[in-house]
């Protein structure tokens, strides 16, 4: 295992903890060429042999190539399976107790949805029903989870306090509300009829009321935000609202140039998905710790995890089926959106360019595009890119003082990659 992996690593299964960088993110020029795998953290060298993935680094001038010091060779892409085995194995080798992130955050989030509903004080029964519709506890609660864990990790880093402040918990609530408000509006914009396994608000109550419900949730979030009483926090989270809207606008436009397209895609991804997570993490770090370096760490973690999350989401749109997802698949193509897998596939199949430019509007475009993507390595490339963002997130969060919450946040990056819905 040692020599074959070509690693300068110690001859043992790196524990889950070892996925983090400290010391691992050194440029792999120290390793023999051709043996470098994906960046340290989520990269694995298991008994199954070397794992290297083809890196798009050379060709992605538009994107941020963060940790790509290593050389790329062709690969077999069997990362998920290996990682899975690896992950389970690592539990026994790990020194720290493996904790399920969701378990850790459970206590703080126990009454999350109830509390959100309390913020949505409105006298009209129907409007209340609409606003409460998505706060039924069936969503992933992924964002509040990250926020609460980040809050604790920062508190511990600052003064060893494991308690989550009331204001930090409010941030989790506010983040989830802003997210949901944007979902409601997105469903109207996309004319979607199902989400999270049930009908959308606009499907049931009509578009007019759905838009109002989204506006109401947003106003309630804004009110809760004001009540925290901290103008810095208000500014940080209001940035999210602006980014969400600008992200939607970015989606309206399209770029001709291939390189521009990818940068455009990443920018849109940041604005629509990562900004919320990045800024909520930053907000709780500000509330928990006065050190600006910590704020930056929290922000970078959130940003990288957020982008990875969306990239995997875009992958799942191709690889998963509708029932499992809870929403229709190939949705992005049908909306005319060229996401990661498509943009990568386009390099192998230049005939996709025309389809991208016309936003898959001609009959048969969606099907053809889908086939091209599945024939190409678009899915793998996108997943690999997501891994790199996760690695970066891990690298950042590792700068904080060790704690179960910090571990959980690292586990979370794994979970982002592993998810299937």
């Amino acid at each position: 295992m040692n020599g074959a992996a070509g690693g300068a690593e110690r001859p043992r299964l790196p524990p889950a903890r070892g996925r983090r960088s400290s010391g691992r993110s050194q440029p792999t020029s120290s390793l023999p060429p051709g043996s470098a795998g994906p960046p340290g953290g989520s990269g694995v060298r298991g008994p199954a042999g070397r794992l290297r993935a083809r890196g798009p680094c050379r060709r992605q001038e538009g994107s941020q190539c963060k940790v790509c010091h290593f050389t790329q060779r062709s690969s077999t892409f069997s990362f998920p399976k290996i990682c899975n085995i690896f992950w389970r194995c690592s539990k026994t080798a790990s020194d720290e107790k493996y904790q399920d992130p969701f378990q850790l955050g459970r206590k703080d989030l126990k009454n999350l949805y109830e509390d959100i509903k309390k913020e949505l004080l409105v006298s009209t029964v129907e409007l209340k029903e609409m606003c409460d519709y998505y706060f039924d506890g069936k969503g992933k609660a992924f964002r509040p989870m990250i926020v609460v864990l980040m809050a604790r990790a920062c508190n511990i880093h600052h003064n060893n306090s494991r308690e989550v402040q009331a204001s930090q918990r409010s941030v989790a609530i506010i983040a989830e509300m802003i997210h949901t408000a944007s979902l409601v509006h997105d469903d109207v914009i996309d004319d979607a009829n199902s989400r999270r396994g049930k009908m959308t608000v606009n499907q049931i109550w009509g578009e007019r009321k759905a838009v109002l419900a989204g506006d109401f949730i947003l106003s309630a979030a804004s009110l809760a935000l004001a009540r925290i009483g901290n103008t810095t926090i208000i500014s940080v989270l209001t940035q999210v609202i602006e980014d969400l809207v600008r992200g939607e606008f970015l989606q309206l436009g399209s770029k001709e140039n291939e390189n521009e397209r990818f940068a455009h895609y990443l920018e849109k991804t940041f604005k629509k998905t990562a900004s919320l997570i990045a800024n909520s993490c930053k907000a709780v770090s500000i509330l928990g710790c006065p050190d600006p370096k910590v704020h930056e760490i929290a922000y970078q973690y959130g940003k990288n995890v957020g982008i990875a999350f969306q990239l995997i989401d875009d992958v799942l749109d191709f690889t998963s089926c509708a029932d499992h997802l809870g929403k229709p698949a190939a949705a992005d193509l049908k909306l005319g959106l060229a996401t990661g897998p498509v943009l990568f596939a386009c390099r192998q199949f230049p005939e996709m360019n025309a389809m991208i430019m016309r936003r898959f509007s001609k009959p048969g475009d969606v099907e053809r595009a889908r086939k091209y993507v599945l024939q190409s390595d678009g899915v793998q490339q996108t997943t690999y890119l997501a891994q790199r963002y996760c690695h970066e997130a891990t690298r950042e969060i590792s700068k904080l003082r060790p704690s179960p919450e910090r571990e959980a946040l690292i586990q979370l990056t794994e979970m982002v990659l592993m998810r299937d819905k």
Binding site: R208, S219, I234, T238, E242
Partner: protein, 334 residues
Amino acid sequence: MSLRCLLSDELSNIAMQVRKLVGTKHPLLDTARGFVYDSRNNLQMRGLVVLLISKAAGPSTAELSFQHNMVSGIYSSQRSLAEITELIHTAFLVHRGIVNIGELKSCDGPLKDMQFGNKMAVLSGDFLLANACTSLAQLQNTKVVELISSAIGDLVQGIYYENSKSSEENCLTDDIGISTWKEQVFLSHSALLAKSCQAAMELAKHSAEIQDMAFQYGKHMSMSHKLHSDLQPFVKESSSDTVAFSLNSAPAVLHQEFLGREAWIKQIKEAQGKGNIMDYKKLQEAIKAGKGVTSAIDLCRCHGSRALAALERFPPSEARAALANIVYAVTRFP
């Protein structure tokens, strides 16, 4: 509306896209047209009122160092607030113009156009709201953010009530008394201005009493404005064409209260005649014959007086006189 906002890429993008709606029946086109050609000169009235009341209240008595930021007697934060109020008002004008896809008929035109119009309406409304939120945050005053956020919530509820009424085909009128009507109209037409006026006072650190007076002015003046607007079909000289009016407007609601619901429903049915086409002229005559109109005029003047009473607490000035003139304008009937 702020120039910066108007010149943004996003809005030019929207403007370009909205052009595609020309020839369709999407309401967004009317809303957009209304921004350019507003025959009743209602453009940016709210912003104007916020500016005037800021000026009328004068500089902050609390903090003398505050006064550096003043231009023409108005703090830059108050100017920003006036802009914010307009942004929010406009955002909801736009969001009101969404159509329910499920209720469309073939005479409304291609589905694609309506969906596209909806998309533009949601996006542009959201854009304006996001801008308002960002500007609000920049004011660095949590109490003001609280006030305006709650005003947005009020506005949503008010519009929700508006919606519910208009969508009911069979029951053309609600069984609401005038007090419920007032509550609902407060939400949809007054809350934003009232709370903005109060917030403008807060920005200059004026006392709670002055803040309340500003709120009262905003509230009562907007109520008068709405009543005035509702009364127009009933006080104009009778012309050959009678415009359709809302059966949930003040005169109608008051008329119903005096007459009793049964008699009112009967009058509606008589005016509907065959084929369910409403003869608005006939219904208008019925309402005029009753006490609804005079009652509504009284109510309008009553709110006007209360607005003027609130103004009394401000020192005399040109700005205060202008605010009084607005009240006179919305309580004047031929």
